[in-house]
């Protein structure tokens, strides 16, 4: 409320009313007022207070404006311009009116006075004065003569003599008294007037100095206007008495003289008052001007501020919107044009805000979806690579890197061919993919087999063209699936072989034995020998077939594993030590994982080692000096410790064409082998959760590497 009073239009109104009242009061105070002085001071104080307040308020506004100008606040320059316009609009007319008023007052006051009138009045006064002086002198002369004649001897003085003087001189009253004012005798023209009109003490002063004295008093209403004071010396001039005679002035003379005196006095005082009057008017006018100008300046500040305020608000609002702040509506100050503008602005901002929110919401949704997709993709067991229009890698999921064995994310933005630089094995895959893309096939499926150091990899690739010209390639590692299918197929083959072949073998063998037994005795020696040889061959072959069937059935149905935790290295060396003792065989050992415990089926693992060592010895049997190297060491992969067992020989190595399928059944280069040895080894190792790799060492010979998880 108080702030409103001090800053609103109410304040200006109050100030102006106060100003008008005080000016009106100054005006009336200088006209008539018993308590002029107090009132004047009060009004002066009020005016000064208003003045000081105005100056203070203006200074405050000016300081604020200056501050805003320095801070480059929106609307400040407009305010300044409007203040300058308003102030000049107010000040110039006021100054013009002021100067004209001052001039007018000075001229009109001066014009009241006329030099000729002044001169005439002065002349009249001089004339009157000389007339009065003349009368005074003649009266004095006359009275002196009468007194000298009448009062020759003071001792004989009586009231009669005073009456005589009065009558002869034509006086109204004659009084004789001492210089101290004691009346000795008096004679008056009026019978009842016994109290003489005594002179004031100062009138008697000239008599003390030995001079007679005449005083004319025109102010008195009585007719006794001329007072003649005579010095009556006695006692040889040492002392004196005072004779006062009051002479009448004729009515006409009195009227004329009084009129002249009054007119002169009044004119003189008017002339004298001319200067103070001008000063008073100038002072009042100046005060009015000062207050008026200050009020105008303040009003200018106030109105300019009021006009500029909505503009500033708008500018700030626009700035806020530009900075993305939509939740700050501009306050509506009044219902004028600016109010309408501000309303529209607020409406616009609200719309913008709604749009922005919707956009933000959809953005968030898109982000959520993308995150979801990313999580799904990263957890997929399929590798996914997306290509841009220019066949550069756009995105890939982690599984893609795992499947391809190369960090695809390092090649983002590069061509797929760049992958082959680091890993040439991928070339066949990349070529297949690129040819499909270049042929603009929208959907395609390809099966690709990669030959890598750690075995064959079967990949299933699917490509789909995107709307933007890019491609999505899904790569699945189906190696284990293919392997499992193959294993299952082989298992079935083995089972059926065992079943179908095993059954007729015993009757064949028995029949052969019966043939021999029954007909050997009856035959001649030559035939008997033939029969003997033939049946022996049958029996022998059946035995070997039985062996083979047994091996197949073993492969087909492996017994349950009997797992136990034991030192893998000691198990290995135990098996290896069984082969020591031959001159042809040198066993080299590089062991480094003594005491490492692995959960294994002891018997099966022994079988694995025997198979591998036997294979090595058989393969290198042509060598004069067979060298078998056994190495063990520990390694960490995917937060899991593995023990790696490496067996290598100095034989001819695996035939390269067999290397890819070396662990499949029936893959062998031995004339008598079933081709199941390495297949069984691999099956056992895989049942233990490990892996096996067969390769040819660069220095020659075959090398088998087994990895088993540490317990």
């Amino acid at each position: 409320m108080i702030r409103k009073v001090f800053s609103g239009p109410l304040a200006i109104f109050i100030l102006i009313i106060l100003l008008l009242i005080s000016l009106r009061m100054i005006n009336s105070a200088s006209m008539d007022a018993e308590q002029f002085q107090q009132l004047y001071y009060l009004l002066l104080a009020v005016n000064l207070v208003i003045l000081v307040m105005l100056i203070f308020l203006i200074a405050r506004q000016a300081w604020r404006l200056l501050h805003q100008l320095r801070q480059h606040v929106a609307g400040a320059r407009l305010t300044l311009r409007m203040v300058i316009i308003f102030v000049s609009l107010a000040i110039f007319p006021a100054l013009v009116v002021y100067s004209f008023s001052i001039q007018f007052i000075n001229r009109s006051i001066d014009s009241w006075f006329d030099v000729t009138v002044e001169k005439a009045l002065e002349d009249a006064l001089t004339l009157s004065r000389s007339a009065v002086d003349e009368r005074k002198k003649s009266l004095l002369r006359q009275m002196r003569r009468l007194t000298d004649e009448t009062l020759k001897d003071l001792s004989t003085l009586t009231v009669v003599s005073l009456s005589e003087i009065r009558e002869k001189g034509g006086m109204d009253e004659v009084t004789l008294m001492t210089p101290g004012g004691r009346v000795l005798g008096s004679s008056s023209i009026e019978e009842g007037d016994i109290v003489p009109d005594l002179p004031s003490s100062d009138l008697l002063l000239p008599l003390q100095q030995g001079r007679d004295h005449v005083v004319v008093d025109l102010s008195k209403n009585s007719s006794r206007m001329i007072r003649i004071l005579l010095r009556i010396p006695y006692n040889n001039d040492k002392e004196y008495l005072v004779l006062q005679a009051l002479a009448p002035l004729s009515e006409r003379q009195h009227r004329l003289a009084a009129s002249v005196q009054q007119a002169y006095s009044e004119y003189k005082s008017l002339v004298y008052l001319r200067k103070p009057l001008k000063i008073s008017f100038t002072l009042t006018l100046s005060l009015v001007l000062l207050l008026g100008i200050l009020s105008a300046v303040w009003a200018a500040f106030f109105s300019a501020k009021r006009i500029a305020e909505p503009i500033r608000d708008l500018a700030e609002g626009t700035k806020a919107v530009a900075e993305g702040e939509y939740h700050k509506p501009i306050p509506l100050l009044n219902d004028d044009d600016f109010g309408l503008l501000i309303q529209s602005f607020n409406k616009m901002v609200r719309r913008l805000s709604q749009t922005h929110n919707a956009l933000e919401e959809s953005h968030q949704q898109a982000k959520r979806q993308r995150d979801y997709l990313e999580v799904v993709l990263s957890n997929l067991s399929s590798g996914i690579i997306s290509l841009s229009e220019n066949k550069a890698i756009r995105t890939s999921n982690p599984e893609a890197s795992v499947i391809l064995g190369i960090n695809v994310n390092e090649y983002l933005g590069q061509s797929l061919f760049q992958l082959t630089r680091e890993k040439p094995e991928l070339e066949s895959l990349v070529r297949r993919i690129m040819s499909s893309i270049q042929n603009r096939v929208k959907h395609w499926n390809e099966e690709v087999t990669l030959s890598e150091s750690d075995g064959r990899k079967n990949l299933l690739c699917r490509g789909t063209a995107l709307a933007d010209g890019g491609y999505v390639i899904v790569i699945e590692n189906v190696t284990s699936l293919v392997q499992a299918q193959r294993d299952a197929a082989w298992g079935e083959v083995a089972r059926r072989l065992a079943h179908e072949i095993k059954n007729p073998l015993t009757p064949i063998q028995l029949s052969a034995e019966r043939l021999r037994h029954k007909y050997l005795k009856t035959m001649n020696e030559q035939d008997a020998e033939t029969l003997e040889r033939l049946t022996a061959t049958i029996i022998h072959q059946v035995d070997s077939m039985k062996e083979m069937v047994k091996a197949f059935s073993e492969y087909a149905k492996m017994p349950e594993l009997k797992m136990q935790t034991l030192d893998i290295e000691s198990l290995l060396t135990e098996v290896v030590d069984l082969y020591r003792g031959s001159d042809k065989l040198t066993i080299k050992q590089e062991l480094g994982i003594s005491g490492t415990l692995v959960e294994v089926d002891q018997g099966r693992l022994r079988q694995v080692f025997h198979n591998l060592i036997k294979n090595a010895l058989e393969a290198s049997s042509k060598n004069d000096n067979i060298v078998l190297t056994v190495k063990t060491h520990l390694l960490e992969h995917n937060n899991q410790y593995w023990c790696e067992l490496e067996l290598s020989d100095n034989g001819p190595g695996f035939p390269p064409e067999m290397l890819a399928n070396i662990f499949d059944p029936y893959v062998t280069n031995k004339p008598k082998g079933t081709g199941l040895g390495l297949a069984i080894v691999k099956k056992i190792i895989e049942e233990h959760g490990g892996s096996i790799i067969a390769e040819n060492a660069s220095e020659g010979g075959a090398r088998i590497i087994i990895k088993l998880p540490v317990a």
């Binding site: 409320m1 702030r3 006209m31 002085q37 005196q261 009044e266 005082s269 103070p276 509506p329 309303q343």
Partner: protein
Amino acid sequence: MSNKESSRDIKLLLTEKPDKTVSKKQFFLLLFIGTLASITIFVVFELLPQYSEQNKFLVNSAKTYAKDGDILIDANLTMNFTKQVVEALENGIPLTIAVEVQVYRKRPWWRNDIVKESLQLFELRYHPLTDVHVVKNLADDERYSFNSRKEALAVLGTIRGAHLIKRKKLNPGEHYFVRIHTLLDINHLPPALRQIAALSSAWRLESNWFQWPVTFADNNSSNQKHQEQAQ
């Protein structure tokens, strides 16, 4: 409908603006303006009258005495005019001289109880034709003519046996004081001259208050030794 709602929202926002209460800043602003106003009023009412012509109007001595059941007063006042005032007088401006006497009872911790107050106004006027100075008592229209201004002022400044108060109006158990001062009353000047007189120190002719205790003893038992200068 949304339009109406939005305008209401904005108005609500408006009412939430913390304009309505007087903040600390506004309080200090008001305090500052109030102080300014007080200083201005103090300067106008207290310091301006102080800044006057010293020793032009003086109370030289004053005394009271009892006679025939009345308390009478004698006083000697000095009145001298500045040259601006003399100039006005000689140009026919009548001057009014006020002599104010107060009888009061002093009360501790309380303002004085004024028993009697008397204000005598005398008009001094110069008559150019007859070259006399006329003093007029404005109360009874009594006139006295003087040859010179000095004589007129000397007579005005000499008060002898003026009636002050009936003795029975004063309670002998109480202590009473009398104080007197004289001044040139600018309220009676012509309007055109008043503003100048109010602002000019040459026109501010005023004696200090001269005060002394009232004694009830008969005859001229002088109290001048107990005089004390007020203010």
